[in-house]
Structures are given as structure tokens and as C-alpha cells.
């Protein structure tokens, strides 16, 4: 009699435990609010041009502007365009040439139309005392939409004036901080 009572009560207990098993005090709808917001730092372009770049010794004619272009196919990648909320370009230009410079970035779309530009005025320095110019450009909202319409960038480096006796070099370093939302 006693054992059957124990049996019954334990059996009932087990049944209650298993049938009352539940998930409560939780809100799985919250999963919809999960957003990853990584901030990614990535190197971009760099160059180091000696002063002689800006003077053609063969013809003795100054070359005031040099220009180069590279594809940046990740900029207008559909995935990036959907997930990028903000981009900050940072530049560091060390100049040991006794001339002022202007460095222009033209972001171009597939039809080679300019969608965005960045212009960096560079102060003059000397070989013994190079001057470092730092510059940042922030892209958000419409400016970001314009930027991510581009898949390549053309870089022009323009020297104020030039002759065969200039020394030193202009060295540019750059990175982008991408604020993503996944």
C-alpha cells in the first residue's frame, strides 16, 4: 500500500514535470533586433613619389600633374552598399619637397562619371624637415550613396611649380574606416 502510494506520487510528479515543460519569460521576437555593427579599419592606397617625377629631364619640361587610376570594385558591391552606414577616409601625406601640392581623388562610376571627390591641400616641407598633412573625409547619407556608386578612383597629384633641382618626395598613406550594419 505504502509503496504504491510512493509509486503513484512519483509517477504523477514525473508526468507533471514533463508535461509542464515550457519555455517562458522569453521574447524570441528580439532576434529581429539583432544587429551587428562592426567597425572595420582597412588600408587603402599609398604611394611615395620622388621630386623628379614632376620634371621630365628628357624634354626639360615640368610635369605639374601626374594621374593614376585603380579599380575599387568593393565600393559599389551590392552587399557593401546595403550594409555600409558610414565611411571615413583618412589620409596622411608626408612632404619633403619645397613645394605645395594638391592631391585629388575622383571616384568614378562605370561610365567614368565623377560621383564624389576628395581634395587634399598639402603643405610644403624640406628634406631635413618633412611636413605631415593629415586629412579626413566623412561620407554619410547622400554623400555615401554617391561614393558607393563608384567602382574606381582616379588620383591626381599636382605640384605648384617644378624644376630639375627639387629634392625630397611626397608620400601618401590612406585608410578607410567602414561602419557596417549587418
Amino acid at each position: 500500500m505504502k509503496t504504491s502510494l510512493v509509486f503513484t506520487s512519483i509517477g504523477v510528479f514525473l508526468l507533471i514535470v514533463f508535461f509542464s515543460a515550457c519555455v517562458k519569460d522569453t521574447d524570441f521576437e528580439k532576434a529581429n533586433n539583432i544587429v551587428l555593427t562592426p567597425i572595420v579599419e582597412l588600408d587603402l592606397l599609398y604611394f611615395d613619389l620622388p621630386a623628379i617625377t614632376f620634371f621630365d629631364t628628357a624634354t626639360s619640361i615640368p610635369v605639374l600633374t601626374v594621374r593614376d587610376t585603380t579599380d575599387l570594385p568593393f565600393l559599389n558591391d551590392a552587399e557593401i552598399r546595403n550594409n555600409l552606414k558610414r565611411a571615413v577616409f583618412s589620409f596622411k601625406v608626408g612632404n619633403s619637397i619645397q613645394r605645395e601640392f594638391q592631391v585629388d581623388f575622383e571616384f568614378l562610376d562605370d561610365q567614368n562619371q565623377v560621383t564624389s571627390t576628395i581634395q587634399i591641400p598639402v603643405a610644403q616641407g624640406t628634406v631635413s624637415n618633412p611636413v605631415i598633412t593629415e586629412y579626413t573625409e566623412n561620407f554619410e547619407g547622400q554623400e555615401l550613396i554617391n561614393l558607393t556608386g563608384a567602382g574606381k578612383v582616379a588620383v591626381s597629384v599636382t605640384i605648384a611649380s617644378s624644376n630639375a633641382n627639387l629634392d625630397g618626395s611626397i608620400k601618401l598613406q590612406s585608410k578607410t574606416t567602414y561602419y557596417l550594419e549587418l
Binding site: L14, V17, K24, I34, P38, L45, F47, L49, T53, T69
Partner: protein, 472 residues
């Protein structure tokens, strides 16, 4: 991408250890006890499991987090909660899921006093260690982690779907000692393994002399994933074909392996019994449909260097970006191999020390003369159990205190209290009922968790039906 990440997060949280069947271990009233210790004492003359119903085992667990931690009602932003959890967890925390389904199970006492048993079961086994650094990188990016080496070696995961054919023998050697051994043939349907990875990723802030502002470096990277049975499934159309293909592999069509279980039970005194078993001492030899991928690299990225070449009319600028892509492909070598590989099964060790007391079960019989020389079976037992399973990053351990009691001829109960990687408050209960020749059992642990599964870090459930014929 976003929904995939969500799915992974939800899977992490709702999945769970360990194949520890602490409630069933040592329950001699249950034929499945032989699969936990082939050297167990066996009271019955023969048994056979009801096909597909003799053992259903489900288990899930995660060592550091439960669903309530993340999705519980609170005013805190879920992203803040997840972020805090990522930093709280370590790369030794893990998520596991195990499932077993017994298809056939039978056994009989032969004339030579050896109890033979055999059967087939299907098993799913999955473990993922928490790749903490990768989670931080995905969640936060590298911006706040300049000069920090993200460790790719934290990636460690295995998954297996296999069927196991087994046959064992059990013999009472003398009054005190019972030993048993079980041979196993594994037929692997699907398997993957990515362990022993290494490598770091670091973004270093350079000084003015460096080529660019940062250096992004992959250091000593050597990562691999071995798969078997997966490559050919990609060529199949639809889930129907996949299912048929997998069924074929379950029937010896997969990659085969061999293993052994050994175990023993020893009566130290009339009241004290020790037992131990080692399970799945074996390996699977992956020879068919094997595909491995490996990545190795020591690579530094500085960005794109513009050279400003003098371009004559009609010339084109160098393809800087394509050149960079080519360089990355050259330097970050991804190999696809079809090398055969051998995979060790996760070895499981069980041990127990039990003290028997209470009413002698033999006394209730008309005559106990036959068993007079052996320790009389008592209706109550209390003791301790030990369990460990060898996982990629070392063994996972569990300790259990138990009390079991036979109430009548047809009902036995066992209660357990277990401390393991998941919790220190794991209470389990098991019930075995013999109704005529039908043997039914139900066992579950983490009973406290059933009140709110969201708060449980692991749950485990076993149930099944057997036909059992007791010894005269």
C-alpha cells in the same frame, strides 16, 4: 547574411553536452544499460527492443549561455546583452547536440552462461567550441583592436551522423566479477571535422616609415576542414535523393570504422560494488567521398600602391586591383584535397561506486539458495558516478551522486545529482517499469530546467520500450 548570422546565434543558444546518460548507467533493470557498460550485471534471460522504440535519446547543451540569458524579458538592448555574453564566454565554452535512435536491440543468455547482445543504432553528434576572437571580430570589427592578434585557432568543431552495428558478450566470471566486451562497426553517413587550426589576424598601426597606415597580417595560418559524405550530396537534386543516399550509407554503404566497448562490475564486499566502462575506443576510416579544404598563409597586406607610370597615348593604367587579387590568391593558398583520413571516436569513460542496502530482493523469492554465494541484491543503492568524454579541446567531465530504489517487482526509480560543465544543479530522475514482459523506461536530467527550458543550459531525455524475459 543577416538572417544567417541570426540563425547561427539562435542555434548556438538553443543547442546544447555530452552523451552523459548518468541516470541510465547502472540501472540493471534496463537492457540498454549494456550499451553503457558491457560488463554490467544482467538479471534477464533475454531481451529485445521494440524496433525504433527501444531507445530514443535526445541531448542538447551549451556550457556558458542559455536562451534566457539572451532572450529573457529585460529592458536591456539585445545587442548589448549579446556583446556582454561574447566577452563573458571563453573559447573553451561549447555548444553540443546529440541524438540517438535505437533501431534494433536484442540479447540472450546462451548455454555457456555468456550473455550475448547486439543491435543497431543511429547517432548524431555535434560540438562547436565558441570561437571567441572571431565573434569579437564579427561583432566589433578590428577598429578597437589594433595590434590585437585574433586567434583563428579557436575554431574547433566536429559533426557526425552515423549508424552503429554492435555485438557484445557478457560473462559473470566468478561470484564477484562480471566482465563484458562489445565490438562495434561504424558506418558513417556524414562527417566533418575542423580541429587543430592555427593562425592569427592582426591589424598593426605603423609609424611614418611604414608603407601605409596599417599592416594587415595573416600569421602562421594553417586551417583545415575535413569532410566525408558531403561532397557527393551537393550533386543530388532535392531532399528525397539526399535521404535515399543517406539511407544507403547507413547500411554499410558509408565510410566504415571499428571500435570496442569494454566494461566490468566488481563486488568489493556484499554491499559495495564498483563498475567501470570505456566506450567507443575506435576510429572511422574515411576513404570514400572525402573532401578536405585547407588554407595556409603568411601574408601581409598594405593596401594598393599607386606607381603613377608615364602612360603614352592609348596606354592603360596597371590593373592594380586585379594584381592584388592575384597576389592574395597566390599567398593565401586554399587547397582542396581528397586525402583519406582517420577519425577517432570520442572516447567515453564511465565509473561508479555503489553501496547497496535495504531489503534483500532475494528474500522475497521462495528460495535464495541458487544465488547464495553472490552478494544478495538489495532494493536500494546509493553511490557516486564519474563520466568523461574526450573532445577536441580536452575531456569534459561530470560527477554524479545517485540513489536508486526498487519499489516493487515491477518498478525501479533512480535519482541523480550531477555537476558538469553546464551546471552544478542538475537533478535527474529515471523510471523503469516491468509490466509483464514489457519493459518501459523514461529518464531525464536537468529536471529543474523543465520548468523553464529557456533557463536550462542542457537537457537530456531517454525513453524506450523493450521486451524482457527474466531469469528463472
Amino acid at each position: 547574411m543577416r538572417s544567417l548570422l541570426r540563425l547561427i546565434i539562435i542555434l548556438w543558444i538553443t543547442s546544447a553536452i555530452s552523451q552523459n546518460k548518468q541516470v541510465l548507467y547502472g540501472m540493471t533493470d534496463l537492457p540498454q544499460n549494456l550499451l553503457l557498460n558491457p560488463g554490467s550485471k544482467i538479471p534477464q534471460k533475454m531481451h529485445f527492443g521494440v524496433p525504433f522504440l527501444s531507445q530514443i535519446h535526445l541531448n542538447g547543451g551549451s556550457s556558458g549561455v542559455n536562451a534566457y540569458d539572451i532572450f529573457g524579458n529585460s529592458d536591456q538592448d539585445i545587442n548589448t546583452i549579446i556583446r556582454n555574453k561574447i566577452f563573458e564566454l571563453s573559447d573553451r565554452d561549447f555548444f553540443t547536440a546529440t541524438q540517438q535512435l535505437e533501431i534494433i536491440n536484442f540479447g540472450w543468455l546462451a548455454k555457456n552462461k555468456i550473455y550475448y547482445s547486439g543491435g543497431v543504432y543511429q547517432e548524431l553528434d555535434f560540438i562547436l567550441y565558441f570561437p571567441r576572437d572571431l565573434a569579437i571580430l564579427a561583432w566589433e570589427g578590428n577598429s578597437d583592436y589594433l595590434n590585437y592578434e585574433f586567434d583563428f585557432g579557436q575554431i574547433s568543431t566536429t559533426g557526425d551522423l552515423l549508424s552503429v552495428y554492435h555485438f557484445g558478450a557478457n560473462k559473470q566470471i566468478n561470484d564477484k566479477l562480471t566482465v563484458g566486451v562489445r565490438a562495434k562497426l561504424y558506418s558513417s553517413m556524414l562527417s566533418y571535422k575542423s580541429t587543430n587550426n592555427r593562425g592569427t589576424f592582426v591589424t598593426t598601426l605603423m609609424d611614418q616609415d611604414g608603407p601605409n597606415i596599417y599592416e594587415h597580417t595573416l600569421k602562421n595560418m594553417a586551417m583545415s576542414i575535413e569532410t566525408s559524405g558531403l561532397a557527393s550530396l551537393q550533386d543530388l537534386n532535392g531532399s528525397g535523393e539526399v535521404r535515399e543516399n543517406l539511407m544507403g550509407r547507413a547500411l554499410f554503404g558509408g565510410n566504415l570504422g571499428l571500435g570496442v566497448d569494454v566494461g566490468a562490475t566488481y563486488d568489493i564486499t556484499n554491499n559495495i560494488t564498483a563498475s567501470a566502462s570505456i566506450l567507443d575506443l575506435g576510429a572511422i576510416f574515411h576513404t570514400k567521398d572525402v573532401e578536405s579544404y585547407s588554407v595556409s598563409s603568411n601574408y601581409t597586406l598594405d593596401g594598393i600602391e599607386l606607381l603613377f607610370p608615364v602612360i603614352l597615348n592609348g596606354g592603360v593604367a596597371p590593373p592594380y586591383f586585379e594584381d592584388l587579387e592575384d597576389e592574395v590568391e597566390r599567398e593565401v593558398v586554399i587547397d582542396t584535397l581528397n586525402n583519406l583520413y582517420t577519425q577517432l571516436r570520442p572516447i567515453k569513460v564511465n565509473a561508479s561506486l555503489a553501496y547497496s542496502f535495504g531489503r534483500s530482493l532475494d528474500d522475497s523469492e521462495d528460495c535464495n539458495c541458487k544465488k547464495s554465494s553472490t552478494a544478495p541484491a538489495r532494493n536500494q543503492q546509493a553511490g557516486i558516478q564519474y563520466y568523461s568524454i574526450f573532445r577536441p579541446k580536452g575531456p569534459q567531465l561530470a560527477g554524479t551522486l545517485f540513489y536508486s530504489r526498487r519499489f516493487t517487482n515491477f518498478l525501479a526509480l533512480k535519482a541523480t545529482y550531477t555537476v558538469d560543465s553546464f551546471s552544478a544543479s542538475n537533478i535527474g530522475l529515471g523510471l523503469v517499469a516491468d509490466i509483464g514482459v514489457v519493459n518501459f523506461y523514461l529518464a531525464a536530467d536537468n529536471l529543474l530546467g523543465y520548468q523553464n527550458l529557456a533557463k536550462a543550459k542542457s537537457v537530456s531525455l531517454q525513453l524506450g520500450f523493450n521486451i524482457k524475459i527474466d531469469r528463472e
